[in-house]
Symmetry: C2
Subunit: 150 residues, 2 copies
């Protein structure tokens, strides 16, 4: 992880919150949470995780890279599906333990289930246990074809 | 955590991804990641965590509750600052391990530093190590006054 040395050390709360040094905080598993929104519709497309290498590669290439916890590997969004994400803007939050990517989504959608967004269901308010409500009509693409499953 | 029984058990991937049962997945620390966006501007305001009680209370009350990892307690957003968040819509993602709250933010902002959003700085693309760029002019409110610090 040679690229991690490009991140600044975290000294004080004042530095982290009010400064211009990028000093991201990775959790106990070495990951930082990443929210991805569509730069044009502003919809939240997905939430994923980055290790230091994924974050460094995203910054240098301007394309979204993540770390897959299930596959335990660095992963370029779209490497299988072709549905890459060009980063329009990268933001970091106050305590620098989450990042926000505004992206231009390539292809029909971001979700491996075939939807535009991973957040295609709403949880009704007022009462726990109510049935989820679908918010996307059908699927934006055929995941079997795009992810070459069989 | 009596309210946790209101969540469905997770049986199959098909059920979790394509079904109408709300079966949220809490991580090893018993938490789920929550993205909060402004329902009107669509800006990402903050990323926080919920334990089962916080999630259940958010659903039943329609106001945002979280779990503070640093203070190790359930926390109603705005309990100190008055800057509560009324939930307009709650979404869950494909594998049900993140939720997205669209909220009507009360008061001048969501961030404890006095900004509207916690994501007030951008990370320049192209080269690691570049200085962060501020994206909010000044502060939306005085955090010393609002959070009654000394």
């Amino acid at each position: 992880m040679s690229e991690t040395s490009t991140f600044a050390p975290r000294a004080t709360t004042e530095q982290v919150e009010e400064g211009r040094l990028f000093a991201p905080k990775f959790d106990g598993d070495g990951l930082i949470t990443c929210v991805v929104t569509d730069a044009w519709s502003a919809e939240v497309l997905m939430v994923a995780h980055m290790n230091p290498d994924a974050l460094a590669k995203t910054i240098t290439t301007g394309e979204a890279w993540f770390y897959s916890r299930s596959r335990e590997k660095l992963w370029k969004k779209g490497e299988t599906s072709g549905h890459a994400q060009r980063v329009v803007e990268l933001r970091v939050d106050c305590d620098q333990d989450s990042v926000w990517l505004k992206v231009e989504q390539q292809g029909a959608g971001a979700c491996h289930t075939g939807r535009r967004s991973c957040f295609y269901r709403a949880v009704p308010l007022g009462k726990n246990g109510a049935a989820l409500q679908f918010r996307e009509e059908g699927k934006a693409f055929d995941p079997e074809a795009v992810y070459r499953k069989k």
